[in-house]
Amino acid sequence: MQVSYSQDEQKFRDEVRAWLKENTPDEIIAQTLGGSTLDPELQKKYHKILAEKGWIGPAFPKELGGAGFGEMEQFIFNYEYSVSGAPRLKTQLMSVGMIGPLLLQFGTKEQQERFIPDMLSGETIWCQGFSEPNAGSDLASLKTKAELDGDELVLYGQKTWISIADHADWMFTLVRTDSSGRKQQGITFLLVDLKSPGVTVRPIEALTDHAPFCEIFFDNVRVPVANIVGKMHDGWNIAKALMQHERLNAFPIGELVYAVETVRKNAEKTKFRGKPLIEDPVFRRKYSLLEIDCQALLDTFFMLISQLKTGTAPGPQTSFLKVYGGELYQRVMDLDHEAIGSYGMSWYNEEFGNDVHQATMGMINSRSLTIWGGSSEIQRTIIATQVLNLPRK
């Protein structure tokens, strides 16, 4: 058993840490935890800084412009990246993080050559369009129709809850190409140019006065069959493979640690009975509970990485990372909001500073963590039936 990083790992960590400190603009750190309000132009700018360093795709092969990191390096990089306060880049998350690796696995050579270089450079922004108004947790019941017409598919329908679609150039999506069999059959995985005629992107106004996501309407949109990933009607299996790419790196553990530290900073700034709030025994206990829960989750990541190193791929039990991590993140943001006292009534405050924006936006935005990508309820059912083998019926 070895708990600390090896010499090589330490060297790598120090290198990453030093570089991030040197090259992450303050203006971008200031927007972390605010999450969805992050300015896309700023994201693009930082994407390019990372791309030039060769670190834009931690898991992506080196020969294609990625970083080509091993499992441990990926973890260290992702952890140091987010604990530094640098935000999750949506320009990167959906492209290099999601569709890029999928194209390497299932895409044609033409698709790879056409799309991957622009993903890495940050030229193209991608979004993911899976959900529909009546297909959320029950994704396989999706209805957006695509009919074959010559060498094109003609799309008709609606997708929703699509993050940054209003800034995206391309979308990967699931459409129904056959309704005759089981609902999981007859789905096709498709790449859609959002500049195509018949595409309407409508931002959805959210409680936070921003538009964190959009809905998209397809009115007879023509998409070449060359844009199908994998085989026609086999999109469900492709989508399942996509979920496996998320694995460990789907949950931003470093960002959680950053958030916990933010709570402490705020609780040192806020005064109660003339003393820092952190010294109040009740608050201190609440805070230390979050810290130990956070540490236990971090320890779990270390355990899983140890397993990855020996080639034991984590299976459905990683569902618990999303459930517990998401719920813990929400508890952290709730306490962060509590820690700023009266300032928590406003979205922004120039006197208290950016911490107000982080606390209020972060608290609201963190609600999404237990909803997107398979809600906590879905994940608990997965744990019950696939890990604990409880009967389905």
Partner: protein
């Protein structure tokens, strides 16, 4: 960084599993429930024959000289089966204190006897007004001719009815909560002036209250240095705390297995109740709590083994987590199994009784949260 157990670790864990299966059962636990000791010497002796009493002690003292992490698998299996033999008190408290704080002659005298299973030891440190704090010590040891005279009361001495010797924390100088001025003494069970009051714990095991009335001990009974007993005592307590966390994780795994098996078979409304999401989601939460506890416990073991600076913190994270989780898991198990859980006929209830005791032993969740915050400096 590496948390994987080696094949040697796993072999020991497997042999512990088959030992528990062969020598122990819930039926045995039921029979021992009203026994004053709550365990039997024949099983204890067999454990000693396998070398388990001296697993982590160096070979020069009759030990196997294995790394600390070897205890992990052993304890997980003890926890799974709720094996009641006083391994933890003798090996992790008594013997470990001698190993880490004792003189060469104390080690040579005591450790081989522990290894052979002929000597059982424990630590007496809890007091009525100190809750779980190790530095709270009012039992006094005053110089008395060639030796010392000990007076005062210690409570809930783990496995105190079976221990042949106690290692006692005493106040030799300073005030009652000072970290300095604590001295450790080895006191035999039959010392004149020592009153032993047996206590049965909820889990069917034993403890005792100790009343010292001018108990005379020679200077050679002192373990370590005068007034400087606390650092070594804390270090040993951290190891024992990590150890009980491993036992608790084993207990959680077993409680989850038993519960899932039960709700997969129990039929109501025409189907297995385990098909209902209301129950499935509770079962999923039990699993989540167990996984996190296990990770925190592994991290604590690895920190101790590597002697990292933050090992005391790692131990408090693990115990805060395990105490809360074991109680949560076993209470949920109780709820999911329903009325049958109340009966002595069902196995599941034994785990809640153990969770209640283990949750408190070496400090509960709140104690370790507070300790963690203090160690972190806020």
């Amino acid at each position: 960084m590496d948390f994987e157990l080696t094949s040697e670790h796993l072999m020991l864990k497997e042999s512990a599993a088959s030992f528990v299966k062969k020598e122990h059962s819930f039926e045995r636990l039921r029979k021992l429930h009203n026994d004053p000791l709550g365990y039997t010497d024949d099983v204890y002796k067999k454990m000693a024959e396998l070398g388990w009493m001296s697993l982590i002690y160096p070979e020069e003292y009759g030990g196997l000289g294995l790394d600390f992490s070897f205890a992990l698998g052993l304890l997980e299996e003890f926890g799974r089966g709720l094996l009641p033999e006083p391994w933890l008190s003798t090996v992790m408290l008594g013997g470990n204190l001698v190993l880490m704080g004792g003189s060469e002659s104390q080690k040579e005298e005591i450790l081989p006897e522990i290894a052979s299973g002929d000597l059982k030891m424990t630590a007496a440190y809890l007091e009525d007004d100190g809750m779980y704090e190790l530095n709270f010590c009012s039992v006094s040891a005053t110089k008395n001719g060639e030796g010392f005279s000990i007076s005062g009361k210690k409570i809930f001495v783990l496995d105190g009815c079976s221990a042949d010797k106690f290692i006692v924390t005493t106040r030799t100088s300073g005030s009652v909560t000072d970290k300095e001025g604590i001295t450790l003494f080895i006191v035999p069970r039959d010392a004149a002036g020592l009153e032993i009051k047996p206590v049965k714990t909820m889990d069917g095991r034993n403890a005792c209250m100790l009343e010292f009335k001018d108990v005379s001990v020679p200077e050679s009974a002192m373990l370590g240095e005068l007034d400087h007993g606390l650092p070594v005592f804390s270090e040993v307590m951290d190891q024992a705390t990590a150890a009980i966390c491993a036992e608790m994780v084993g207990g959680m795994s077993a409680a989850i297995d038993i519960t899932c098996e039960y709700i997969s078979e129990r039929v109501q409304f025409g189907k297995a109740i385990g098909t209902f999401q209301a129950l499935q989601h509770k079962a999923a939460d039990m699993f989540i709590q167990k996984e996190l506890s296990a990770s925190a416990m592994y991290y604590a073991f690895a920190s101790i083994e590597e002697k990292t600076e933050d090992r005391a913190m790692a131990v408090s994270v693990a115990k805060a987590k395990c105490s809360a989780a074991y109680l949560d898991v076993t209470k949920t198990a109780f709820q999911l199994c329903g009325a049958i859980a109340f009966t002595r006929e069902a196995d599941i209830g034994f785990f809640l009784m153990r969770a209640e005791v283990a949750g408190i032993l070496f400090g509960d969740t709140d104690y370790h949260l507070d300790r963690y915050a203090t160690l972190k400096g806020y």
